[in-house]
């Protein structure tokens, strides 16, 4: 028995030792299994494309490699994965996603001086997670501030909210409560659902009884699609609305989601700059001319941002550590990323305009773009 234990320990050491290469390594804590794995696939395609471009351009002295760890979109497995990345692999930079996950790993990031960059979670709390936590995505408070006036302008002032009972859902609830009165609107029903619930026929009955003009859905992955489908199936005819979480391929394809309004950050693909054009061309070449979603842009940008900062550090002869990356970001005023030249706010969050989209024939059609400050 004892011999076996030592053999196992030795195996751990060897395998881990073997994993240390000469590459420049960064980490990613994405959902790779579980009900939200679909997001992991989307995020990864953006990050991988950026790594490909960075390596093709030889921006860094050694090739860049992204180490993916599975978070299942849940805080607890994410903390385990993050511990492995910062303690074992000692990466200086980690891509993060989902509000709950990001909050959970932020303490580890701060303690170990590792930069964590979020391009998927949109809970407004994410702006307050310390120096080492950055966001390359505008947060949900901005999204709600764009959606509410749009709904009001089109005569929809009574809004019902169906939200998942987590930090994201909570923040959307708070934002609707804060913003609806400003346009003379009213939140007529707030229905929260646990993350694991699958059956919403009862919820649909309550939504109908509330007499809402529009139903705002704030959930993720499989659940938000089930909510949209079952609301329609159970006789809810009101306008459906949602946030950027709805922009996944299978949500857009859902027949019942036709006509749904959702917000995303506005990416100006018509910007003539080289970065945007190259991203768009290469992405479409690899994906049958499909338009990339905002998530893909965000994680492309997150990795590209690392490339730019690390390149500068290498040129200055400094080691690529979390602390140096942070200092370099603070010293740099603006970055050329996909969608144009952007700059960070002091709290480490990127500002971007928001657009309202409508699902027409299974694809998002931009309706209007709102600048929010």
């Amino acid at each position: 028995m004892r011999a076996r234990v030592w053999a196992a320990t030795a195996a751990v050491c060897m395998l881990a030792g073997g994993a240390f290469g000469k590459d420049v390594e960064i980490g990613a804590v994405f959902p790779m299994s579980g009900t939200n794995a679909i997001y992991g696939d989307v995020f990864k395609s953006g990050a991988d494309l950026a790594a490909e471009h960075i390596n093709a351009d030889h921006m860094l002295k050694e090739p860049l490699k992204i180490l993916y760890e599975d978070s299942q979109a849940l805080p607890q497995p994410a903390v385990v994965a993050m511990t492995k990345l910062v303690e074992v692999k000692q990466v200086p930079y980690v891509l993060s996603a989902f509000t709950g996950v990001s909050k959970a790993i932020s303490t580890l990031a701060q303690r170990s001086q590792t930069v964590a960059v979020n391009g998927g979670g949109v809970g407004p709390d994410l702006a307050k997670l310390g120096d080492y936590f950055w966001n390359v995505i505008p947060l949900a408070n901005l999204e709600v501030r764009a959606m509410v006036p749009y709904l009001a302008k089109h005569g929809m002032k009574k809004v019902a909210l169906v939200y998942v009972d987590d930090p994201l859902g909570q923040s959307i609830l708070d934002e609707l409560n804060a913003n609806l009165p400003k346009v003379d609107g009213k939140l007529v029903a707030e229905l929260s659902v646990p993350t694991s619930t699958q059956n919403f026929s009862g919820i649909a009955a309550k939504v109908r009884a509330s007499g809402a003009d529009a139903v705002y859905i704030a959930s993720y992955g499989a659940q938000q699609i089930q909510i949209a489908k079952q609301l329609r199936d159970n006789g809810v005819k009101a306008q459906l609305a949602s946030y950027s979480g709805f922009s996944t391929p299978d949500a857009l394809k859902l027949p019942q989601a036709e006509g749904l309004l959702y917000t995303t950050q506005a990416v100006n693909y018509k910007a003539g700059d080289k970065v945007t054009q190259r991203f768009l061309a290469d992405y479409q070449k690899a994906h049958d001319g499909k338009k990339p979603s905002a998530y893909i842009v965000n994680y492309y940008n997150a990795v590209l941002l690392f490339g730019i900062l690390a390149q500068k550090l290498e040129e200055a002869g400094k080691p690529i550590t979390g602390a140096n990356l942070l200092a370099e970001r603070k010293a740099t005023k603006s970055f050329d990323l996909v969608g144009g030249t952007v700059s960070f706010q002091d709290n480490g969050t990127l500002l971007a305009p928001i657009q309202v989209n409508k699902i027409v024939d299974g694809a998002g059609q931009p309706q209007e773009t709102v600048d929010i400050n």
Binding site: S33, T35, S192, V193, A205, A209, Q230, R232, D250
Partner: protein, 289 residues
Amino acid sequence: MLWLQLTLTGLQTGALYALTAVGFSLIFGATRVFHFAHGAAFVLAAYVFYWADTAGLGMIPGIVLAALAAMAFGVAMDRLVYAPIQRHEGSFFTVFVASFGIGIVVENVVGMVFGRSFVTIDSTLSQSRELMEGVYVAPLAWIAIACAAVFFAALQLFLRRTHTGMALRALADSPELIRVFGLDPRRLSSIAFALGSALVVPGAVMTALGSGLNPALGHHVMLISLAATIVGGIGSIGGALVAGFVLGLAENLALIAFPSQWSEAVTFAILFLVIILRPAGLFGRATAH
């Protein structure tokens, strides 16, 4: 009108719970195996039906294939997992852990094959029509309730009128007696698993058409079946049926009084209270001790 609507939705939900719970109760009652992987049979049947639909095989062959898959899974579990464990000293909990393990395996294999996100079959059956002012019912609701009634009646006939059925009912109480009458308890046990697993099919098919599927669905199905079996009283198949409806109704009617996030807890509060106040269940014939 809200209460009428919620009662109807509750009955629809309850009908799905009821048949699945009856299947679990049949297996548990006859073999005393805590078949936690019953939820996995549900997921398997649902995804086979979904696969048949996407492959264009049509509704009926899909249902037949789903039933075959569920039954094969149930019998395989009995033969390959439970029987060897019971041959050792295999306590009730050893069986439980093994069964839970297989449940995890099925969930993840299905996820790898069919993808981990949500799938649904588009069908007009799930689209509600307005029955009266403010009350909507989908054709699926009537089908679900009718299915529950027909399958349950057929099962009762089988258990009461056929030799095999009667032997199944006697199996849990006295396996020795079964042997004395020259019947093979192992074979009977497999029959219980085949029948019990087949009973997930209506629920699985209607979930695929209605609220949609994801690989993690089995967990919830299993917990509800277990709760219904206990609330109804172990060994009482009728009790499981009624309890299934009760839990479905309670979950939906709770929306009137409580914030929506508490509705699932209602099921388990009922379970906990029934065990403390009436351990034999609503229709139990044996006491819990």
